[in-house]
Symmetry: C2
Subunit: 173 residues, 2 copies
């Protein structure tokens, strides 16, 4: 199955000139969604993972389905102010201003081995912040996985400290 | 397995006097998360569902895992401005101000039969708005499922038009 064919291009979102890669068309097709999660499960089933870390919000979709498939726990990395218990946090730069992601301080320990899941590598800021949070808790990051990578944004430059896998590379706007 | 024991009470979140029900402790335990998704899958496996609808963000976690388990597509209901293609929208009241949820206009048709998944029934506003969106697209809502219901907030009063299932009822603050 060619997953890129399941993804819809939406012109001019979120602003003029951007071809937004809309994964909701992939998710809506049971076969394509299952195929994606099966790919993930095969990739990681022998890695000895203890948890799947998913980044809010679309990383929750792939991450939770993978955790369920592997029969291991799921840990959310969330936007600021959403996690109720004690957290650690990282700020990162956006085009205008900054954003913050958080993880519960007790969500992972040095005994954990995880994959970090999101839908997209764009500029890499969110993923870098999420990886740093997981590093700070002492867990072993086996790999960072995203469905799509917008290679022309060079997000991987921020992610050289970790193993990164993108299922689909998109090399132009 | 008694799922309520897997949920952590966090005092004074998001404000003083509230005992927040933190589901991240359930998600983090592979057995408890799997047990929850197995409950869901057994409940719906013979219902002839065509899609699972999940409400951003925590509804994505249970909804996506269920869709994967059932081998059917997943449709997100998202906060305002997040879905890239044409949407329909509903505003609903919050304690202070209002919020908007959206669904892609082409996400469902009258041939679809769905469950709508979220983690929590509190005041019922988000779920009511989500159900109205799915109704507007003509899909058949087989049931609305939430892990937790804060019964003392009477959210079900807003949801009388639909079948509603909550796995765990919490009857006091």
């Amino acid at each position: 199955m060619n997953l890129i064919e399941k993804i819809r291009n939406v012109p001019d979102f979120p602003k003029a000139g951007i071809q937004f890669k809309d994964i909701t068309t992939l998710l809506a097709e049971g076969d394509a969604f299952l195929h994606t999660i099966d790919l993930l499960a095969k990739r990681y089933e022998s890695a000895g993972l203890t948890k799947v870390v998913g980044i809010e919000s679309r990383g929750f979709i792939f991450g939770a389905a993978l955790a369920c498939k592997l029969g291991i726990g799921f840990v959310p990395v969330r936007k600021e102010g959403k996690l109720p218990s004690e957290t650690i946090r990282r700020a990162y730069e956006l085009e205008y201003g900054e954003a913050v992601v958080e993880i519960h301080s007790d969500a992972l320990t040095s005994s954990d081995k995880v994959v970090i899941i999101d839908d997209l590598i764009a500029t890499g800021g969110t993923l870098e912040a999420a990886c740093e949070l997981v590093d700070e808790l002492g867990a072993d990051i086996h790999e960072v996985w995203c469905l799509l990578e917008l290679t022309f944004l060079n997000g991987r430059d921020k992610l050289k400290r970790w193993n990164v896998r993108a299922e689909i590379a998109v090399d132009s706007e």
